[in-house]
């Protein structure tokens, strides 16, 4: 036991990156662009996105993984960026609300949110849009239950849920090329 103890307390578990004593250097692909920046290990991904990278579309509300306003995609999967350290995005691909739309047009989910009035104050909206867009990426024809599950972690205090439902169904129909929705 003693031998293992010494070995570990003196060993620096390898981590790629320079940085300073307090910070580490990270390389994260954010919205398709490789971004290199320094962050303290304690910095959350939400803080790094908003503060260091200036991508303030991602919102921080509860900061405890309980409202999903900070939802971004990590390698395509929705995660709460407030409950993930920036250091854990190192080498991964992150998509934020700023990166969802094509350069010339909004994402169909964004358009549907506007058309179906699926937002009021708008603070939770970027997170909700990310979750609904991620759902449609994996499920082209979701039923109401699938949409309810996808947005089950989101808090919207304006109560836009029914419109989020219709907007997402409409976006799905549009993306399938079946435009009656």
């Amino acid at each position: 036991m003693a031998e293992a103890n010494t070995a570990v307390s003196e060993q620096n578990v390898p981590f790629a990156g320079a940085g300073t004593a307090e910070t580490v250097q990270l390389m994260v692909t954010v919205n398709g662009v490789d971004r290199i920046f320094d962050a303290e290990p304690r910095t959350t991904l939400a803080e790094a996105l908003r503060g260091t990278l200036g991508l303030t579309g991602t919102k921080i509300a509860c900061d405890r993984g309980s409202c999903c306003a900070c939802t971004v995609l990590r390698d395509g999967l929705p995660v709460c960026s407030c409950m993930m350290l920036a250091i854990e995005a190192n080498g991964h691909s992150i998509t934020t609300i700023e990166g969802l739309a094509a350069p010339t047009a909004l994402h169909p989910v964004q358009t549907a949110f506007i058309e179906h009035d699926a937002l009021q104050c708008g603070f939770c909206t970027p997170g909700l849009v990310m979750s609904c867009a991620a759902l449609l990426e994996h499920n082209a024809n979701p039923d109401q239950e699938a949409i309810l599950d996808a947005i089950s972690g989101h808090f919207c205090r304006c109560g836009t849920y029914p419109h989020v439902m219709t907007a997402t169904l409409a976006a799905a129909a549009k993306m399938r090329g079946d435009d009656n929705g």
Binding site: M1, A4, N5, A7, V8, Q11, N12, V13, P14, F15, E22, V24, E40, P41, R42, T44, D63, R64, G65, C68, T71, R74, L77, P78, V79, C80, M83, M84, L85, I87, E88, S131, L148, D149, A150, S152, G153, H154
Partner: protein, 346 residues
């Protein structure tokens, strides 16, 4: 959150050595005191750990990630036909694993409905079993309660609507892991490894620690030890299992009550083996022994389910704000038994 240094363990031995102290022990001394100085903690998904750090219930000088450990995030069949689930498998991957869906559907169901999709994409099964309780006094730095090394339980005569209805004399937490309810019912084994590479295997039911054994921890994980896997025993062909939960809302949150039923029936629907485990009922998943005894040898019908559900609650000791849990549990148990009897792998 105070700053810390960061590491990524490459081997199980490195990882175990990096856990200089258990989170439970570190939290016995108030944060930012010498008691917690130098704490080196391991991290899986970090959902519970970041919460403790942000709330300043815990401070750590070093955090070591377990996410790079090879083999910790896979699910494999064991030689005897059971299942071995690596401790770092995420709840999302567990819930959609074809092996789990096919052979242990109640476990898939319990993990598919725990927390939110965002959390399930990150949270691991090991972390889920080791997360600290949700008691709001425990989670508030202002209350140095019994479980955190203080001298008093604030819940027993306080706001206890989400607390235990069994074994609640000393500390009235309910065990926070929904997966644990099903895993105990299935007779799961946890495997731990220490910094020398030695492994120990213990039934999850014995690994979890009730307050009268030690009020300062929920499990017997030691310093310099990590959880490597959860093993499920092989099932008999006729085994039936169901997990049902009742939450305050239909969206995410810890359940107010949940029930796991596992039983073997013979050709006449006579019960040969029964496990009735209640979650959100006691400081550890609660085995309703009286209900199990009633089911054993009985043909499972409405009457049997009703008798078992009633017996399960007979020795409950609700607190002044959680009496509502009794009818909730009675209904859930009855429904779960009937559903398990109705269809194989409900």
């Amino acid at each position: 959150m105070r700053n810390f240094t960061w590491g990524q363990a490459q081997t199980v031995m490195d990882a175990a050595a990096a856990a200089s102290v258990t989170v439970a022990d570190a939290m016995l001394s108030p944060p930012n005191t010498n008691g917690q100085a130098g704490a080196s903690i391991v991290k899986a998904g970090g959902i519970d750990l970041l919460d403790l750090l942000k709330e300043k219930l815990l401070t750590a000088d070093r955090i070591t990630s377990l996410k790079e450990l090879p083999g910790l995030d896979v699910i494999t069949r064991t030689e005897d036909g059971g299942l071995r689930i690596g401790a770092a498998v995420t709840l999302a991957n567990l819930a959609r694993s074809p092996l789990v869906l096919r052979h242990y559907p109640a476990l898939a169901n319990a993990t598919a409905h725990a927390a939110s999709p965002q959390i399930r994409n990150v949270a691991t099964l090991g972390g889920n079993l080791l997360q600290r309780p949700r008691c709001w006094y425990f989670r508030a730095a202002e209350y140095r309660c019994l479980r955190k090394g203080g001298g008093h339980c604030f819940a027993i005569h306080g706001e206890n609507q989400y607390h235990a209805i069994f074994d609640n004399q000393l500390c009235a937490i309910v065990h926070p892991s929904t997966a644990a309810t099903v895993l105990v019912a299935l007779g799961a084994i946890v495997e731990c490894a220490d910094a020398m590479g030695a492994a120990r295997r213990v039934r999850l039911e014995d690994f979890l620690v009730p307050p009268d054994e030690d009020v300062h921890r929920e499990n017997s994980l030691r310093a310099q030890e990590i959880l490597t896997a959860i093993e499920l025993p092989a099932l008999n062909p006729g085994t039936r299992m169901v997990h049902l939960k009742q939450g305050e809302t239909d969206s995410f949150d810890w359940p107010l009550a949940d029930v796991a039923i596992v039983f073997d029936l013979d050709a006449e629907r006579r019960c040969k083996r029964a496990a009735v485990i209640l979650g959100a009922a006691a400081p550890v998943p609660h085995r309703a022994k009286a209900a199990e005894a009633i089911l054993l040898g009985r043909i499972i019908d409405e009457e049997a389910a009703k008798d078992a559900a009633h017996a399960a609650l007979a020795d409950a000791t609700p607190l002044h704000k959680n009496g509502y849990k009794l009818p909730l549990f009675e209904t859930l148990i009855r429904r779960a038994i009937l559903r398990a009897a109705a269809d194989l792998h409900a």
